[in-house]
Symmetry: C3
Subunit: 477 residues, 3 copies
C-alpha cells in the first residue's frame, strides 16, 4: 500500500484534474498550527518518543474510544488508571490489540492520518493488521531510536512554521522558556522567526469553580503574579498580568472551552459569584454563570492586549461516567450536544463585536450552527471568524460540509483557516495534508461548475492554507 497521489480528490476526472492543480500550490507550504495540544516539553526536552503503542495508541482518544465502543477496556490498551488499578504495560501487547481492531477505522480520518504517518514519516508501505502488527512495531521502534526521529528533528522535517501549544495561566511556562533559550537548530533559532513554538492562554480551570482544585489554582495565580487573588479585582489584575507573561512566551491567542456560548456582561455579578465561590457558597446556577461572565471579562482584556479569543463550546465533558471514574479526563468520554451562538453571544458582541482591535474565532461541535449562526455572525461582525471544523468534524466529510455551509454566506475570508487541534505531534503533517486536499477539492468543484475561475481558486487555496491563519491568529509578526 502506498499513498495514492490523488487521495481525497473528487472522482470526477475533470474536477480531479482541477483539484490536483490547485493542490500543487499548497502542498509544500509551511505548516501553520495556531491551535493544538502538543506538550511543549516534547520540544524542549527533545527526548526520543516512547514505544509505538505509547506514541500512537495510548494517548489518542480518537483511537481508544473506538476500541472501547467495541468492548476493549481502557486498561487493555494501557490507558493509565485514575484509581491505581493496573493497566497493560507491554507496548507490543497493546499494539497487537490495536492492530487486530484496525479494521474498525476503515475510511475514518484516524486511519487516513495514521496511514499517512506510517508511510510518509516512517517509511512503512504496508497495511496494518494482525499479520503485520509485529513488523510495524519493530520497524517503528527502530526508527524512533534514531536521532532523525527526535521531536525537534521531526519539527524541522515537517516544515512547521508555528506550533501553538495550550497552557493554563498557572502553568510555569518553563518549557517555553527553555525553548526560548535554545540555540539555533538546523540553521534556525528556536523560538525565533522561521519556526517557533508559542503558547496559548487557556484559563478554563480558573473559571469553573466546581473543577476540583479551583481555589488552590486561584491562590497559585496570586503567587505567580504577586497579586491578591482573594478579591475579584485582584483576580482580574492577576489574569491581565499573566497574559503579558504569555504574550512574552509568544502567545497571540486565548482559548476557551466553555460548556456553552452563553455570555453575560455584568462585572458586578461576576465579582459577587467569585467571592461566594471562594467561600464555597455559590449555588449551581451561579457556577454555570461564572464562565459566561468571565468570557466577557476576557473579551475586555483582549481589546486591551490584542490576544485573539478562541471559543469552542459544546462538549458535555466526562459524559461516560465509567470512563471518567476509572481513567479520568480527556480519554474519550466527552459527547457533544446542541448549542446556540446567536442569542448566547449577543452580550459579548454587543460590547465588542465591531471593535477594530477585537477578534474571536468560533468553533463548534454542533454543525447545524455552521449555516444558521456561525456564517451569518462571521459575515456580519468584523470581530468574528469561523473556526475550522473541529473534533468529530475534522474529517473529509466534516470539512466539506463546513465549506458548503459557511462559504456562501461568509465567503472564504471570514474563515480562520485550518487548525489541527492535536496532541499527536506525529500526525500534524497528515492532518494538514488532509485539510489542504479537501479545500482543494471544494474549490475545484466551484471551478468545474464555473462558479470561480482557476486563478481565484489558486489564490484562495494559498490564503486558506497559509495567509489566513497567520493573519487571523496574529502570527504574522
Amino acid at each position: 500500500m502506498t499513498l495514492h497521489p490523488d487521495r481525497l480528490f473528487p472522482a470526477d476526472e475533470r474536477t480531479r484534474a482541477i483539484a490536483r492543480e490547485i493542490h500543487r500550490n499548497t502542498a509544500d507550504l509551511p505548516l501553520v498550527s495556531p491551535h493544538g495540544h502538543v506538550d511543549p516539553r516534547l520540544m524542549s526536552e527533545n527526548r526520543p518518543f516512547p514505544d509505538p503503542a505509547r506514541l500512537f495508541v495510548v494517548p489518542d482518544h480518537y483511537l481508544t474510544r473506538m476500541l472501547y465502543a467495541q468492548g476493549v477496556r481502557p486498561d487493555e490498551l494501557g490507558v493509565p488508571s485514575a484509581t491505581g488499578e493496573p493497566s497493560e504495560v507491554d507496548g507490543r501487547a497493546i499494539w497487537r490489540r490495536f492492530a487486530e481492531h484496525y479494521k474498525l477505522f476503515r475510511g475514518t480520518p484516524s486511519k487516513l492520518w495514521l496511514d499517512y504517518t506510517f508511510a510518509e514519516v516512517f517509511g512503512i508501505y504496508k497495511d496494518l493488521g494482525p499479520d503485520t502488527a509485529d513488523e510495524f512495531y519493530d520497524h517503528l521502534s527502530a526508527r524512533l531510536a534514531e536521532p532523525a526521529f527526535r521531536p525537534r528533528a521531526l519539527f524541522d522535517k515537517f516544515n512547521i512554521e508555528v506550533l501553538a501549544t495550550t497552557e493554563s495561566p498557572v502553568d510555569s511556562l518553563e518549557a517555553h522558556a527553555a525553548l526560548e533559550a535554545l540555540p539555533g537548530a538546523g540553521g534556525r533559532k528556536w523560538g525565533g522567526p522561521g519556526g517557533k513554538v508559542v503558547t496559548t492562554f487557556r484559563p478554563d480551570n480558573l473559571v469553573e469553580p466546581d473543577w476540583p482544585g479551583w481555589k488552590e489554582r486561584v491562590e497559585r495565580l496570586g503567587e505567580i503574579t504577586g497579586e491578591d487573588t482573594s478579591t475579584f479585582d485582584g483576580f482580574l489584575t492577576a489574569l491581565r498580568k499573566r497574559r503579558q507573561d504569555f504574550i512574552a512566551a509568544g502567545a497571540t491567542c486565548t482559548d476557551h472551552g466553555n460548556r456553552t456560548a452563553i455570555t453575560i456582561d455584568d462585572p458586578a455579578k461576576a465579582a459577587k459569584i467569585f467571592h461566594k465561590a471562594l467561600e464555597g457558597k455559590a449555588h449551581f446556577g451561579e457556577l454555570w454563570e461564572f464562565p459566561a461572565l468571565m468570557l466577557v471579562e476576557f473579551a475586555r482584556m483582549s481589546v486591551d492586549d490584542g490576544l485573539v479569543m478562541q471559543l469552542h463550546p459544546g462538549a458535555d465533558r466526562n459524559h461516560n461516567k465509567w470512563l471518567y471514574e476509572g481513567w479520568g479526563r480527556d480519554v474519550g468520554g466527552d459527547i457533544p450536544s446542541s448549542n446556540d451562538y446567536t442569542i448566547g453571544l449577543k452580550p459579548l458582541l454587543n460590547a465588542f463585536g465591531n471593535h477594530p482591535r477585537f477578534r474571536i474565532v468560533l468553533y463548534t461541535l454542533d454543525e447545524t450552527v455552521f449555516s444558521r449562526e456561525i456564517a451569518p455572525l462571521a459575515g456580519g461582525y468584523s470581530a468574528v471568524f469561523a473556526g475550522a471544523p473541529w473534533w468529530f468534524l475534522d474529517s473529509p466529510e466534516g470539512m466539506r460540509r463546513f465549506r458548503e455551509a459557511i462559504h456562501e454566506t461568509a465567503g472564504f475570508y471570514n474563515t480562520a483557516g485550518f487548525v489541527d487541534d492535536t496532541r499527536a505531534f506525529c500526525s500534524i503533517p497528515a492532518r494538514h495534508d488532509l485539510a489542504r486536499r479537501i479545500d482543494a477539492s471544494y474549490l475545484a468543484r466551484l471551478v468545474a461548475e464555473h462558479r470561480m475561475t482557476d486563478a481565484e481558486a489558486a489564490e484562495t487555496a494559498i490564503d486558506l492554507a497559509y495567509h489566513l491563519p497567520r493573519k487571523i491568529y496574529g502570527l504574522e509578526q
Copy 2:
C-alpha cells in the same frame, strides 16, 4: 420501463463501476429484517392478499399522506373511518385515484419501492399512470389470486432469512405460535433456522398511562402472566415473565417509541407514579416522566435477559388532529420534532452504557443528531449502536447523509445495519435493494477517492448488509 441495473449508483463512470462491483457481492445475500411491522398473521394464515388497492395503497401512510397533502380525503382512498363514516369500498376506484396522482411521487423512495415491486415481484414493466391504472389493477389482481403470490410463497421467493414483527406484551402471540407449529414449507421448517419469523417486545402501550385503555392493559398483563399488576413490583415481574414468553417466540429485541430520549433512573419514583396513574391521579408531568423512568427499568431487564433495546423517539404522534379524529392512529398524521440524546440518555448510559451484556440501538427522526450525538455515543459506549436511517430518512439521500454523518466518527462497525421498518410486506425486497445500492455507492466513493481499498469496501458491504444486523440484533444463533 424496466429497472435499470445501475439505478441509484453515482453517475460518475469511475465510481459507478466500483459501486457495481461492490454491490455484486451483496445483491443476493439473504434479507435480514430485524425491525418491522408486518402482521404475523399474514404468514400464519397465508391467505391471498386482498385487491391491489388494499394491498398497496390503503394501509401505506407514506402513500396516503402524500395524497392528503394534495387535498385527496382519506375516505376517498378507502382508509377506514374511526367514526363510522363511510369510506370508498371499490378497490378499482381507489387504485385509479392513486394512479392519477402517481406523479406526486416522482423521485421519492415510495415510487422507487413500488416500481421495483411491480417489476421484480409482479412482472409489470410499464409506468403506472391514469392510462395504465386498469391494466395494472387487472394484472396485479390476477397474480394475487395465484398460489405463488401467497405470503409464505413470497417469503421464500424474497429470500428472507429472518423477519421480526412487533407485538405488545398483551398480544397473544398466537400467530407466532401457529408459525412455530407449521410443518416445513419449501424444504424449510417455519420458525426454525434458514427462514424464520420472530417477534419483538414493544411495551409502549403499557408505559404511557394516558394512552386510552392503559389500565385495562395493565390488568390484562396480570392475567396473562398470573402476576398481581396492581403493584409496581408485580408489574415489573409480569413484564419480566412476559419477556421470557417473547424470547420463546424468537424475540431477540425490544422496541421503544418514546416521545423523547429522556431517561430517569429512579425506581421509587416510577413506583409512585405507577400507583397514582392506576388511581387516575398522576398529573401531566408525571405522565411524561413515566416512560422515561420505564426505559431504565427495561434496560435493567435487558442486562438480565439479553434482549437488545431499540429506541426511536421524536415523533409528535397524531399531530394532524383532523386525521386522528376522523381516521385514528398510524395514518400519516405524525410529525417529527427536534430531539436530544446526549443529555437525555445520560442516566441510562451511566447505569448500563459500558455493560458487556447490554446493547441499545438508537434511531432518530432528527438527522441533526447523526453527527452531533449518535455517532459520538455509538463510537464511545460499548452498548450503543447507530440504527439505520428510519422513517422520513429511509431514502437515498437520507441514507447517504446518514453514512456521511456517522461513519467518520463511529466507523461502520458501530452501526447496526439496515432495517426496513415496514408494514408493507411486498416492499421488503425493494427496500433492501435500495439500501444495499446506497451503501455500495457510498463505499464506492470512498474507494474512488482512495480513502478505502476495494477489498475493504467489498468486505464492509457484506458486513453492513448481512453480518452486522445478525450480530447486533442477536440473530446469529
Copy 3:
C-alpha cells in the same frame, strides 16, 4: 470573462448533459416573482436608476455586511446614518471601495448574481476589481442614463410576468394605483394580464406592539378604513377591510415575519393583550404572544378571503446593536437562530391545516427543519407548502440541500417554487437563472442515477419554475 453556458451544472459529463437538456426547457420561461421587496414606485415613477453605487451597493445588505465583516464601516459605503452622522456621498468612491473588496465574494451567490447582471443586463464582459472599477462605473453610468435601462423597460426586457411587492396595511398603495392607471407599455397593459405588479399584505408593524410607532399605525389603520381600531373587534374588521383593498391592488398573498413560528388560537386573549398594549400596559410575555395570536387571526381571515399566507420566522432582528443604532433596520444586522415549526404551528394547523381553501407557505432560516419538520408538514397537510430556501440559503448549496432534504418526503409538488425575495430589481433575472440551473442540476442527478426519467424531469422542471408558483401563490387568474 463571459458567463459560461454550463455554469452551475454538475461537473460530471453525463449529468451535465442531462442538466443542459432539462434547463433548455425552463431557461426562457417568463419570471414569476411572488415574494419580493422591490419598491413599487420604481415602476410607477419609472425614473432612471441612480449611480451604480446607489443602485448596486448601498441598498444591498448582502454586500455591505460582507464588507463590515472585514472592517469597512457603513458610512464609508454610503449607508445613510440613523443618527445624522455624515456618510460617503461620492458614488465613485463607494464603488471603488466595493471593487477593492470584491474578492471577498468569490464563489458566493452575490458575486454570481452581480456577474450575471453586469454581463447579461449591462453588457460588461470583464472581471470587476480595483483595476476595472472606474471602467465599470463609467460603463454602468452611461447605460443607466439610457431609456432602455429605465425600470419599466427592464421589466419588459426581463420577461417578468408577475412581480409581487410587499406593503404594510397602512401603506397608501398609491404606487400600485398609479401602475393600475398606466396605459399599456410595449403592447401590454400595466397591472393587467401578461405582466403585472401586485402588492402583498404584510402586517408585521401592526402586530408587534413594541415596534416604535405601533399605536399611531393602529390609529392610522382606523382612519384609512373608517373603523374604530381602539377596540380589538374594530382592529380585526379594519384589517379585513384593508385586505380587500390589497386584493383590489392585485394581492394574492400575505407575508409574516414573526420572530418564531409559535401560534396561539385564543381570540379572547388576543383582545385582552391588544387593549393592554394600547394602554402601554402589556408586559414582555404578552408582547411576544400577540404576534402568535394574530397569526391565527390572519389564518382565519385567509380562510374567508383566500389570501395565501407566507410565514418566514427565525431572524433575531437588529442583533448587531452597533449597526442598528448607527444605521437602522435592514442593513445586515439580523442573525438567524434555531426554530421549531412542529409544536409551534400545531394550534394553527389544528384549526385550518386541512381546510380546502387555506394555504400557508413556510420558509426558514434554520435548514435543520427542512427534512425534520417542513417536509413532513408539507407532505402531510393539504394547506402547507414548503417555501423556497430563503435569505442565507438562497444559494447554490442552500438550494441543493433544500431539494435533497425536502423532496424525498414531500415530493416536488408540495414545494411552492422559487422566490427571489429581493430589493435589488436588476438582480431578478440572475436569481431566477441561478435557481433554474440548480433545480435542473438536481433533477439531472435523479435522472443520471435512474431515479426519474428524462420526461418526468423535463416536466417537473417546468412545473417548478413556472406552474407551481403561479398555482400556489394564487397567480393563475
